[in-house]
């Protein structure tokens, strides 16, 4: 049993190369669903899902009059291109666009790290510590997902104002962290309890306490789950307008990029076409994060450790 634990726990401090090796090993055991039909289906879905984005992307490089008076696909025949929209997005504000980027990053990182850590610990307790009322409490936490953020705005802001925190980053970090918890706990708990009981039991027999089991046995196995949730938490916080606007306000010292993007359309929405360029400017970072975290989506962490 203990050897099994080791083999599974060995990538505890995984070097990327280890991951790639694992992935390659998995590649050898390739399962081919890849008939011609399957490829066609995949391509059709990919194309359908990309067309709207492609349309927006092309639009973002077209002059205003073209955007308003002809379809974006006509660009293929009438190659009329401009970067004016991007210039306006990048320089059209009273403030440097970089200020908003910095604010977005400063808001997002803690708002991703904090809830994931808290949720991992809580999910561990829900999955591997047997205590009275566990299931009821879990269901309660999970049900909190349905509370719309909008109902929390006034009660929370009232408290923040009382504490003298309104308008600072702290309120945004705290609020985002709390709002992420129900889903994070729910998701991570699901991955956590999928881990074979034998692994945990084996570590227990070896005399490991809960804290040790959590960090040494479970964490390494949860890397893909953590990475996938991290992507989404990153996205939600990065694209959030409401929480930042309510708790931090639109002040340039705290306002994230979304505040700038939202006002691109102008007071009466007359410049709505600028949103096309704005959407891509604000999309760059999340897509990079997605690509960067994808390497942690690897198979085979459990390979050989459990029965088939």
């Amino acid at each position: 049993m203990s050897t099994i634990t080791e083999s599974a726990a060995s990538p505890a401090t995984p070097e990327p190369s280890n991951f790639e090796k694992l992935d390659m090993r998995a590649d050898k055991a390739r399962v081919t669903l890849g008939s011609r039909v399957a490829s066609v289906v995949a391509i059709v879905i990919a194309v359908l899902w990309t067309i709207p984005t492609l349309g927006l992307f092309i639009t973002s490089f077209r002059p205003e009059a073209d955007i308003k008076k002809s379809g974006w696909w006509t660009w293929f025949t009438n190659f009329n291109t401009t970067i004016d929209n991007y210039v306006e997005v990048l320089t059209g504000s009273r403030f440097e666009l970089s200020t908003f980027f910095v604010n977005s990053i400063v808001i997002t990182l803690p708002a991703v790290i904090i809830p994931i850590t808290l949720a991992l610990l809580a999910a561990y307790a829900f999955a591997w510590i047997d205590f009275k009322g566990r299931n009821i409490l879990f269901v309660a936490v999970f049900a909190l997902q349905v509370v719309p953020i909008q109902v929390t705005l006034i009660p929370l802001l009232t408290q923040y104002v009382k504490w003298g925190l309104a308008g600072s980053f702290w309120t945004v970090w705290l609020s985002h962290s709390i709002f992420a918890l129900p889903l994070a706990i729910f998701l991570l708990h699901n991955f956590m309890k999928e881990i074979p009981r034998e692994l945990v039991e084996a570590a227990r027999v070896d005399g490991a306490g809960h804290v040790k089991i959590f960090f040494q046995v479970l964490m390494p196995l949860l890397v893909p789950a953590i990475a996938s949730f991290a992507i989404f938490q990153f996205l939600w916080v990065w694209n959030d307008l409401l929480v930042a606007l309510t708790f931090a306000g639109g002040d340039q010292n705290v306002a994230p990029l979304t505040v700038r993007v939202a006002e691109l359309a102008g007071t009466r929405g007359q410049a709505w076409y600028l949103l096309s360029a704005g959407a891509f400017v604000s999309m760059v970072v999340p897509v990079i994060v997605f690509l960067a975290l994808q390497r942690y989506f690897v198979r085979g962490l459990l390979a050989g450790s459990v029965k088939g």
């Binding site: 590649d27 910095v102 999970f142 709390i178 729910f186 010292n253 897509v287």
Partner: protein
Amino acid sequence: MEWLKQADTTGEKFLLMFVAIALFVLVMGVILFVVDRISRPPKWVLVLGFMGPALIGLAFGLVYPALTTVKASFYDANGETFVGADNYVTAFTEDSFQQVLGNTLAWTLLVPILSTVIGLVYAVLVDRTRVEKFAKTLMFMPMAISMVGASIIWKFMYEYKAVIEGLAPERQPAQIGLLNQVLIWLGLEPQQFLLNGPWNNLFLMIVMIWIQSGFAMTILSAAIKAIPDDTMEAARLDGAGGMRLFTSITIPSVRPALVVVLTTIAMSTLKVFDIVRTMTGGNFGTGVIANEFYTQSFKQANYGLGSALAVILFIFVVPLIVYNVFQMRKSEEMR
């Protein structure tokens, strides 16, 4: 301590950010260290050590506001006078409320199911292919486009311009929406996608499905990768083909993840109102509860009625809870 609240320069902001993270790590480290140090800790200490911070946060940030909302739903617009169940009566006797309820139900059923199916199929199909990363990025992109961007993307899909009788071909209004252009290329009449019910609801849902499939795909892909290779290998040696593998190995293996994805998408669908709000404003029979809730609470300053609608939204979650409890029991038994 003022510098902890006010950060003006980029350097100060990053410093503040690191201070916040360090502070958090420190606090959590101390808690876990203490828990770990106690030999044979009582169970409640353990549980508190692991979930205490999360539970405090939830109580403050979600439970308390939710309770305030329930209370506000029994008060008038200003939250001053107790009005009993009046707000609920108003909500339910509203002319279009039946339709709003029906739409909400359709959204919470169709969006999760379709997004999950598409996400799963796609995740399986691109898994282990050479272009996997690229292919997944394509489906992920809609999630990365903020709502503001998404609202105008679909204008370029659904926008309607008629083919006007009598107007010379070269003067016909140019189509802005791709779907109608496709209809014209096919020799059909352009359609008012967002106007004609009940189909307009479907066209709004497509936007949400387009966004949420990326979520389903990502989570399910992680789950698929957790299926031990030997399991697949063994099934293949038994002579299972692509379809058999999918139904007899992949689906059962990712079943818990499927439940999670379905539930999560259903929850976000219940709450989503931006799509309806920006595309039809709830007109043309496309209203959903979340949009009504938002309109009443924040546009018409009727907190009482708005809160009652939020509570009705809470009630929609009961079937989801029941479903999940059922699934949890099932997987407990299997363990």
